[in-house]
Structures are given as structure tokens and as C-alpha cells.
Symmetry: D4
Subunit: 221 residues, 8 copies
């Protein structure tokens, strides 16, 4: 049977973001093989959606080489990024349970050398003053990654208050009509505040990649 994967090492040069390994649906043996090939090639590598149980079923030697974070389910293979950029990227969450996705975004940015402050957490619109108190920080951002589930009202309210681009990440946590994150997704897409852009439900990684493309590399043009 085929090995099952082919690294796209040229992706960063071509698109500005390097390939990452989405662990969902992969067997431990497949991930071990991917890690071994990356290590052999002396490549840095980001793994996403690596649940703790899956992480613990990997080859212990491979695990030891990983910087693993269970909250965001991300692991990083390799050294610190070659260069660091302090960019005006903010991350906000509507609720405490949105932190895993916010942290996936923060770690993806860090892997690519972009440093951001900690996420501003629990600023959902039911207590609007919490968001208002943080507006000065958020108004200074060129891009804000906003993570929210339930009805996703945070996306519109935030986008009506700041000049930076809002990248909405709908969150799957919720029940009833909020289950799965589709209510928040549709709210983000249907936002009455112009210019909100959206990524897939729970896709903190994708939001970070978009932010990277905005703050890095092509500024001279």
C-alpha cells in the first residue's frame, strides 16, 4: 500500500504559509511516519487537532520532540521560528469555552513567527461593557480574530466599532439550534456590518493563516 502522504515543502514559498498536519482521521502510525520524515528532513512542522488520546498513542520518542498543548490540541516540531514579527493582530473570544480555538490561532501565528498578546476572553455582547472596556486595544489592531459560538453577535458588534478587519471563527460548542456552530457561522456570513470575513467552524488555524497573509510579506506592494 502507498505511504499515504507527500509533503508540500514548497507551500510556504508559494503561498506564505507552511503546510500543517490535520491529525483528524489519521492513524498513529501515519502521524509517526510523517513526524519521522519531517525530522529526517530537519523541517519544522505544526500539527493541529491532535487530541490528547491520539498524542499519547504516538511513538514516545516522537512525542518527546513535540511542544504539545492540550487545550488547543496543537503540537509543534522543531525550533523557534527563524524570525519574529510583532504584528497588530488581536484575538477575542465571546466566552470561556472559545479559548481552545483562540489558542489554536495564537499558536499558529507563533509558529510562523508572529507574536500576539493573549486572547481577550469572555467579552460576549450580553455584557457589552466588557467589550467596550477593551476597545482601545482592539482599535489598534489591523486584524482581529474573533471566536464566538451561540448566536455570534460579537462579530457584527465588533466590526461596527473598529477599523481593522474582523476574521470570524464560529464555534461549535452549544446546544439546540446552536449545536455544531451553524447558527454562529450563518450570523457571521449574514453580518450587517460590512467587511466581516469568515472561516470554517472552529478553524482557528485557518483564521491565523489569513491573518498571516495580511500582516506579513507583501507590505511593500
Amino acid at each position: 500500500m502507498a505511504a499515504g502522504f507527500t509533503f508540500d515543502w514548497k507551500r510556504e514559498a508559494r503561498t506564505g504559509v507552511s503546510e500543517a498536519v490535520l491529525c483528524t482521521g489519521k492513524t498513529p502510525a501515519q502521524i509517526d511516519a510523517i513526524l519521522a520524515e519531517a525530522a529526517a528532513a530537519r523541517r519544522r512542522l505544526l500539527l493541529t487537532r491532535l487530541d490528547r488520546a491520539l498524542f499519547e498513542s504516538l511513538d514516545p520518542a516522537a512525542c518527546a520532540a513535540l511542544d504539545y498543548d492540550p487545550l488547543s490540541r496543537t503540537a509543534i516540531l522543531g525550533d523557534a521560528p527563524p524570525e519574529r514579527l510583532k504584528a497588530a493582530v488581536g484575538i477575542v473570544c465571546a466566552g470561556t469555552s472559545d479559548l481552545p480555538v483562540a489558542e489554536e490561532a495564537r499558536r499558529t501565528l507563533a509558529f510562523h513567527g508572529v507574536e500576539t498578546p493573549d486572547a481577550i476572553a469572555d467579552v460576549g455582547v450580553a455584557g457589552l461593557w466588557r467589550l467596550m472596556e477593551r476597545l482601545p486595544e482592539l482599535r489598534a489592531c489591523r486584524v482581529v480574530i474573533a471566536v464566538a459560538g451561540l448566536e455570534g453577535a460579537l462579530f457584527s458588534v465588533l466590526a461596527g466599532l473598529i477599523e481593522g478587519l474582523v476574521i470570524a471563527v464560529p464555534r461549535s460548542v452549544g446546544y439546540g439550534v446552536a449545536a455544531g456552530g451553524h447558527a454562529a457561522l450563518n450570523a457571521a456570513l449574514a453580518s450587517c456590518a460590512p467587511g466581516v470575513v469568515v472561516v470554517n467552524i472552529d478553524n482557528g488555524f485557518g483564521a491565523a493563516c489569513a491573518a498571516l497573509k495580511i500582516v506579513r510579506g507583501m507590505d511593500g506592494r
Copy 2:
């Protein structure tokens, strides 16, 4: 063939709201017959979803007896309500195109003798200051009927700011994921602000009936 309708004249005594005629799906002949029976019985009657084309296809004599409003597509047969109540019910719209539903609610309340101020229109959250300017009025209301389409963020923001009950009426106007009003409906149901209650998409009539039940009649208990 059967006549096709049976008035529930006892409904108001039993439930606090009188029966209304939903005109969708009825033929002009059926509506003419209903009006004739109500007139013969000297009953007041509210008709909803009476499109202008349908209205104009009714028996002209019947039309002449109706107080018809094309924006809200409502018609009222009969005199002014026997008594009037000034109640602390507010009506707000996120956008201009929500006015027909707001007006359906206002006319339903008026039919039942409850007077309300004009709807506060176009206070969508993309320009939050517009809502904030009207907060003093809204904070004085015991019930606020809020009409919003698109992402329906207004429901949550409003409910986080006032003490009165918010009755959310999702609005069907919109396109893409907002078409039909399901995005706004789900936003209302999934609201992070506790205590928002919801009625069917575009159902200004139903929202008004709920408001009536709250402000009228049982206060002594």
C-alpha cells in the same frame, strides 16, 4: 362543499386575544364570506397578510368597510376598540425593511386597544450609537418587540441592556444564508443574553399577541 370556516368568537374570553384571519392561502370568495359573517354578527375583525392584490380582488363593498394598510398588509373591520390602554411596549427594527413587520405588530396591539409609540427604526448594531441613543426609552418598556433580519445581533445586544422582556421577531428579508430569515431565527433562539423569547419569522402579529398577554388583564394576580 363545506363553508370552510367556523369562527372562534369565544377565543378572546378564553385566551385574551381575539381570533384573526390569516389571509394567505384563502381565496377572495372565502375572505368575502368571512367578512360578511363578521359584519352580520357585528364583530370586529383583524385580517393579516392581506396583500394589496388580494385586497383589491375582494368585494368592493367589503373593502370599503375595511381600514386597510398596505405596508403591514393588515385590515381592520369595525370600530375603534372599546377601551384603550397605554402600555409600556416598545417596538424596534434593525433596518428600514423591517418596518412592515413592526407595523403589523403595532396595528395588532392597536386593534386590541393597546397604544404604543411609533417603532424605533434602523437601530442595527453596525452603528451601535443609534441604539444607545434610544436606550432611555427602551429601558422604560416592560416588553420590547424587536424585529431584525440578517444575523439578528440586535436581539442579544438589546436583551443585555434592558430589564424588559425582548420578544424577537426574525425577518425573512435577506440573501444567501440570510434568505428566508432562518439565520436571524437561530440567532434569536441561541442568544447569549438570557430571557429572549422568539416567535416565527415575520410574525409581528404573534409578537403583539404575546405582548398583549403580558401587559393586560392578569396584572392583579
Copy 3:
């Protein structure tokens, strides 16, 4: 990483209902931290959707301070409410399996100082006489919280018989087209009985908050 939560202690003054902690999606460590902060601030606190397994994974000291109810998955931190109100709020269930949600509503009302009788259980419309026998009690209520799954016919039948406001809580228990509670939700929204209002599937907490807003505080207006 950020602490992840920001209490909205001012919510009760602003909206009439105090903030509650939805435990779904939160880690034990996060809930422990929230409880510790509330205890330190000598605040009363309501926790919802606290599954027994999650409850048992909390800090034992924190657990000891909680009044935990496994059926409704609610926990209450702190003393009895400062004042009590006997209000005409009824709670009815179509079936036995709706009791957890009814109990969540009852405990939420009790936390806020509103006492209600036990839920009237198992009055689904397949045996209509069971509902009819309880009508005198229900007709005396200003608000009735009705919990029903399957086809949700109870909402319409009840609303056609009483003067009080019916707050419909669709229930997720069921199979086939009833699975997840969307059939009951749509039945509530599409009700032929005017004035039914609806909250999210299984949202006994939200129904209680709406009832609170109706029976408390603004009666003088």
C-alpha cells in the same frame, strides 16, 4: 494565557436576571476558578448543564459548597435568595422524560427567589383528559412554561385554552424526525394558537429567565 472569564456582576441590576455559568465546553479547571472567584467575592451563582461526571471532577472543596441536582444538572452556590416571591408561574411537561428541563426551569426560578409548584408532568395530548384535569391550576397562571418533545402539540393546545403566556421549551429527546428537538421547535414557532413564545431546545434556564422578567420588578409600570 488569559484567565478566560470576566464576571458580569452588574447583569442583574441591568437586566433583571443574574449571570449564570453554562458548564458545557468548560474544563474542570475553568469551573473551579470561576467558583473560587465567586466564593471570594461572596456572590451567589447558578451553574447549568453540569453533568454528573463533570461535577465529580471538580475540586471537592468547591463541590461541597454546591447545592447540586443531577436530574436538572444544575448547581447553586451560596445562600437562599434574599427575598421570595410566590408568583403565578406554572410548569408543565408532555412526558416523563421532559422533567430534567422542567426542573432546570424550576431551580432557576428558585435561585432568583420565585417559588413555583412542582411541574405538572405527563400531560401530553395523546390523553387529553390529563391536561383538562389540570386546567383550573393552569388558568390561574400568568405564565406557563411548557416543555414538550416529539410533535410539540401541547404548546398549541394549551395556548388555546388559557389566558396566561405560554413559553414553549422544545425537548431534544426523541428519534427519527423528532431527534434533536427540531420538530417540536418548529411546531412551537408555527403554532396556530396566537401568542406562544419560544426559547431554544432544552433551554429551561432561558424560559425561567423570561418568566422572571414578566412576573418581577416592573409590575408598577
Copy 4:
């Protein structure tokens, strides 16, 4: 090009119901050809969903031979049925706008020689007394075809009160979550009253065919 149809004249002998022509999606020329072939073969024929505009675009000679009813959009070619059966089949509607479907069922039964009383109309559960008044008639029926849109609560309430089989026909008229009839369909399928059976939305023809199979022909077994 092919003629496009092949009569299944043996269907009645095989299944107890004769083939009918669903006119939706057929051109006037196709329907004219079908009518001509049936006339040539001296066959009786039932046409369903024949909108007035389509009816009026048919060959005038063919039209003259049809017994056309615009409300139910049915047409009958040929003489009265060879034999008549008075069967205990009842037809009820929740609202006035359900009559076209009720009438489609009544005419389908009549075409097959089963006579039924007029539909009992407008007995929706919002005014339960209207249904209760007609219970004696309904309790005498072996089969009741019930037509209802919106939340379809009538199906469950009726089935909890009578011994005969309830055949539920959901109705597409409505708006918001009731649009298209899926809320009523799911209510019928999820009914808490055991033994309700369901046909497609607006399918009065199919409900009548099922009733036919129950009341006719195999009673000796």
C-alpha cells in the same frame, strides 16, 4: 421522440386503485394525448394538480369532456363510477386554506365509488371546542383523513380521541418555519399518539388511495 407515456390499465386490478395522471411537469400536448388515448380506449381517468391555467390551455374538445374542479385542481374523464360504496371515511381540515387538499381527497374517493360527507373544516386546535363538537361523527369513522398545516397539532389530538385510523396530510400553506409544510409533516411523523400514518405534503390523492385500500375489497379476509 418517444410518445412519453404507457398506461398501466391493469393497476386497479393489481393494487385496488386505478392509475391517475399527475399533471405537474407535463405539457398541454402530453395531457391532450393522454386524454385522447383514454377516450379512445373508453377508460375513465382522474387527473390531479391540473391548475386552471393548464386546464385552459388544453384542447377545448378534451376540456368539454372533463368534470373539472378548480379548487381541488382535479378533473375526471368519463361516467360515474360503476358502483357506489358509502364508507365510514371522514375528512377534517384544521383551517379554511386546507380545503383544496381535502377536496382532492374527496374527489379521489368519489372517482373510485366511495362516497363521503363534506369535509369538516376549520377545526384547528386553537379552538378545541370546534373539534370536540364534531367528535361523535368522527368517532363513527373507520378512517379519518386529516389535513393540517402550521404545527399540525390536529393530527395528535384527533388520534388521541378516536378509534379509527388517522391518515395525516400535512399542508404546505404557511410562512417562516411552516413554509412548505415540513413542520406539519414532522409533527405528523413524530406524533405522540400511536398509529397516525402519514402521506406526502398536500397529497390528498394519496391519502384517499390509502383510505380506499382500507375500506374496500379485502374485507372478507
Copy 5:
């Protein structure tokens, strides 16, 4: 807290089928209490959807009194039915995995005193000869309960070949677009063969109740 249930012992007299206990969503304690009350009242009782794990968590004394069948997940409390009727009711399955639902139907009929032959299994249309071989038996039935998942073609093919009424029970087993049984449900509702009636997905109990109403009790009319 309320006891949580109210027997509707009069249901059989009123509707021809007795009340059954749907175990989904009930706690062991609730089921134990229900069984105790039925035993005290010397009532026969049918329990459905009683998973083996739930069955084994009941009070052992209660279990001992039950006739439990794990395949159909049904349990029967009490003696054999007072009278027996051999009725022309057939049961067919498209595949082996449809047997649990077929057996739920057969046991429900047996509980009510109607004896049927074993289900005709594995006669899906991919091998049409298997169905054709059993046609003589099926053509002798007044009612045929057909259980099928996947695309549900069996419903239409069968209904085009026999005179008896086909009650379609869609089956939830399947993957991709067949998962959950909605493809089979919609196929049953959209059947091109007139007179197919449908019950909820996996609802063998409901199909049996409908069959009961057809074959029993009202034949004299």
C-alpha cells in the same frame, strides 16, 4: 418533585391501542416506578426502546416479571393477551439489519392479541426475484408493514404489486446520505405508487398500532 407520569389506562378503550412506555430518556428509577404502579394495578404493559444496558439497570425483581427481547428492545409485563386474532398482516424487511424494527412491530401486534407470521426478511429490490417469490403470501395480506433503509425502493415496488395497504417504516441504519433514515423516509413519502402510508423512522411500534386499527374492532361498520 412530581412523580412524573400519569397512566392513560383509558387509551385502549378510546383509541383501540393501549398506552406503551417509550423508555428513551427515562431514568431506571422512573421505569421502576412505572412498572411498580402497573403491577400494583394488575395492568399489562408494553415497553419499547428498552436497551439491554437500561434493562439490566432496572430493579431485578421488576426484570424478572418482564418478557424481554433484546433484538427488538421490547419488554412485556403481564400475561398473554385475553384474546387472539389471526389477521392478514404481513411484515417484510429489505435487509437483515431491518429485523429489530420488524420484530418490534411483530411483538407490538402480539401484545395486542394479533398473531402474524415471521417477517419475510432480506427481500430488497437489488435481487427482485426474492420479493417475487414471496408475492403470493404478500398478496393475501390486508396490510403489509415494510421495513427498509437505504433508498427505500421496496416500498414503491411492493405497493405496485399488491392490493393490501403498505405501511412504510424507514430504517435509520446506513451511511452517507442514508444515515439516519431520511433518504428512506422521503422515498416512502414521495412514492410513485399510490396509497403508501408512512410512520416515523424505526417506528415499528407505530406501524403495528396502525395495522391494529385497520384489522381490528371496527370491521362491522
Copy 6:
């Protein structure tokens, strides 16, 4: 503004089927320009979904050069295909109203030089003998394009009876759960008969392209 189109004249050499023009969503001016460019380049061209109204709004000179068929809504520009192939491709329809899609497939095959017999129409499974009578013809086909709406049972029945590949084309005509063709689409995808392949709803063109790829060109391999 850009011209708006770029012919992919190399498509036939690359993929075996030539580019066609889907007229939906194009303005008359855009289609006129496309036709003019094709004529100037002396290219043959197939246009699909060209409604009669759109056809009649085209430049009359362009229309005169087209072989237009209103039933299938196709138009062909240019001479007969350079070579002709009699291939064992069959086309069957469940009902008369499926002919437009069948004819779109037949005309697409003809445009590419593949001749097929007329579609076998109206062989839906409600009258199974109609299909059985045509089996000898169908068993001789290497590929059969089957067009069916409603419950789409024809796909499975046919695929269980013949050796050739069945390409299922679900049909959008229908009402209730059959409206739009999703019931038939899901039936085709969930077929219990192995090896059925499916194209988009109403996509007779696509089915013909797949048939072309099977019967032409690569046979030597």
C-alpha cells in the same frame, strides 16, 4: 469591463467532451457574443438550458443558425458531427415529465456523434411490468441513463436487473418532500444495488458526457 468568457477549445482533445455553454445566468448579449465568436472560429457549439424566452431574445441572425429544441432547452450551432457511432447507450424515464432531461442527454450524445434510440419513457416501478417488457433492450446496453424523480426507485430496480452501468439522473419535478429532486438524488446515492453512479439533479448533459467517456475513444486500452 472584461468580455467575460474564454473558450476552452482544447477541452475535447484533453477530456473527450467539448465545452458547452450553460445559458442559465447569462445575458442575451453575452450569449450573442459567444455565438459570434464560435461562428467566426467555425466551431460547433452546444448550448444547454436555453429557455424559449431567452432563445427568443437572442440576435435573430444567431437564432437562425441554431438547431433549437424547446423541450430539452438545447441548441446546436454548426453542422452534423464529423463521425457517427452507434453505441449501446440506453435512456429510460420513470415518467412523462422526465422527457426534457432524457432529451437533453440524447441531444448531447448526438452532438458528439453518438446515436441512441429514443428514450424508453414512463417505465416507473409502480407498474413494474412496463420495465420488465423492455428488459431485453436494456440488457443489451453497456450504459443506461435513467431519469427519475419522486422516490427514484427505478435506479435501484434497474441496476439489479442489468449488467450495464446505470447513470442516475434525479429529476426536480415533484412536490412536498419530492420538490427539487433531493429525494430522488439521495435514493440514487443510497441505492442498495451496487454500482449505480449519479449526476446532479436534472443534469442530462452531464450524464451524456459520462456515457460518452465510457463508450468512446479509450476502448483500445
Copy 7:
């Protein structure tokens, strides 16, 4: 009745994009009033989704002052923008019928003073060479707005080839599973190429607003 609108003239200063008027759902009288107020205030204004029929029903004097484009259904009131920016924003379409949305985006950018080249049209992936020929232009863009319907494969292919941010605009034109644009929307959200961001179906205006936020104003940070 209330006037129905409240300009948010401060929006551009606050968020970087000025308020626009979505004409869907507004009456001619409402649009006339909005135009009059803008003219009186000497404000520039962008109107979107102004169908030709609606445009022609406006006050002729108001129309004369508008720069109206029927393809994109946009109208501009007022002079050229105060300053112009040549920004590296590209616009591509998969097909000819995507041009209206592409043009809405181009006109929105132009209204805000950002000049872009004409859209690169008809570069769908079925003829991949068409896209490849335009890669040098696209690789020079900091942001590319991509408009595609059907399966939306263009979004992923493009994002895998260029460094700039891809803003995906799904397109509603299509049939069967492509109808309404949800297939393309989900393809954009589920893209395997990291960093694609998405706006609502057909929302060329929103894509342009997002592009504006990226290329303008905050570059110094």
C-alpha cells in the same frame, strides 16, 4: 409612522468603510427619501441590489443624479471619490455568469477610491490553463476577490498558488445541489488550502469592504 432610517455618517471614520444602502426590501418611497436626505446633506452614497425595475420606479430627478450600472445593480450618488489609490487587488470569476458580483465588488472599491483592473473572467478549473495563464498578474496581488458558483473549486486551487489573501464570494447561480450557492459556500469554508476567507453568497460588496480594510489606511502599523 416612523421615517424608517437613520444615517450612520460616522461609519467611515469608525470602521474605514462608509454606509451603503441595500435596496432589497425597501420601497421606492423609502429609497427616494434616503436619496433626498443624502443629497441635502451633500453626502456621497452607494446603493446596492438596485434592480432595474426598482431603479426605474424611483423619482426621475433622483435617478438622474445617479451613476447606475444594471449589470452589478449598483448606483452611486455624488462626485468621484476625493482621492484614488491604485491597490494590488485582483478580481477573478470562474464563469461568465459571475460577472455581476465581480462588478459589484469593483464598483464598491471604486466608490471608496480604490482602482482595480477589470475582472479576470471565465477561469474556472475545468480548463485549468486559463487560470495558469493569468497567474503572474494574480501573484502580484495582495488580495484577490474570487467569485465562483457550482462546486467552487477555484477558491482552493487559487489559494494554493498565490501568496495574497483569497476572499471567496460564492455565487448563487446554478441548479440542483448548486442552486442558491450553498455548495460553493461550503466548498470555500471547507477549503483544503489554508487562509481562504469567505463572505456571504453573492456578496461582492462585502468582499470589497474587506479588501478595502486590508489595503488601506492602517498600513503604517
Copy 8:
């Protein structure tokens, strides 16, 4: 109770593919009985969707006779196929996690005597060069089975580049809008590249059966 299965041993002669056993929803006892009957009849048999846990719960003697592959969850009973055909069938996967389905297809082909090379894995369009490198192999195939989840762009890109027929197998692995495989399914059905045909989500078995029908048996016609 009935045995529950009826082998269709004539299926291969009739349709070109032999019956296989879908293990989902079957009990170990049922599968043991099926294996015993096949062994007794000295029949070869393919089992699909046989999870490892289910495999391990079978009768050990039966297991020993099976060639079981846990990745594809397939088991083969019996000897090598009687004859072997090297056919130009290719299999490609967009990602590593698509291999189980690709392998199910490869094993199904092998069971029927058709040998294919290993799947070409991980050629998703985000790194288009990976697919381009394998084009020569793929262009030599008469049929290509393509397995892809997420947005399924591979189906369209591939079909635009090769002459062979593309059989698309959507894959259920993914999250958010990609969960369950419906986004990839709709992308395959809505493909802009003509002639793509589609099977159910994850249905590698069905894709292989279709490929078999194309490459085998009827070539002489």
C-alpha cells in the same frame, strides 16, 4: 424468528458484480450465520464495513478463514478470484485520511479479479504540483476513482485534465461544514467539469463496482 437473510447468488451473472455483505447494523450472530452458509455453499464472499471490534467478536473459526484488512474494514472469504484482469483503473486520494476508502475500492476490484496499482495518495489541490506530477499515469486510465473530503476540488480539477471517467467518492472526514462529507458530495455533483459521476459518501465499494462494470465483460458490444 426468521433467519434474516437470503443470498442472491445469481447477482453476478445478472449484473456483473457479486453480492457483498454490508456489516453495519448486523449482529455477530447474523454475520457468523452468513459466513457459515457461504462456506457450506463453497462461495467466495466480500464483507465491507467490518470494524475491528465487530471482526473480533465473530466466531474465531470463521475469522481464521477470512482475509481481513483493518484499514479498509473489508474481509474476503475464499480463494483468489478465478481470473485476473489488469485494467486501466486508477485510484487517487486528496489526503492521507482518504486511504481507507481508496483501499476498500482496491480490495473490491481485487476480489472481482481486477488488479490496480496502489492508490496515488495525498494529491490534494492545495499543492497542485503533486497531482500534475502524476498526470501521465492518470491520463492512461480509462476510469479513475477519486476519493476526497473537505471541499472536494480534486474531482473537478482532475476531470478537467484527463480523458477517462472520474468516479467521485466524497469522504466523511472533516469538521464544521465539511463534517459528514456533504460539502464534498455536493462539490462532486455540482462539478463544472462535465462527466464526473458520483457515489455515496465513503462508498469505495460502490465506486469499484461501477468501475468493474465499465472495464469488464461488455467490451465486445
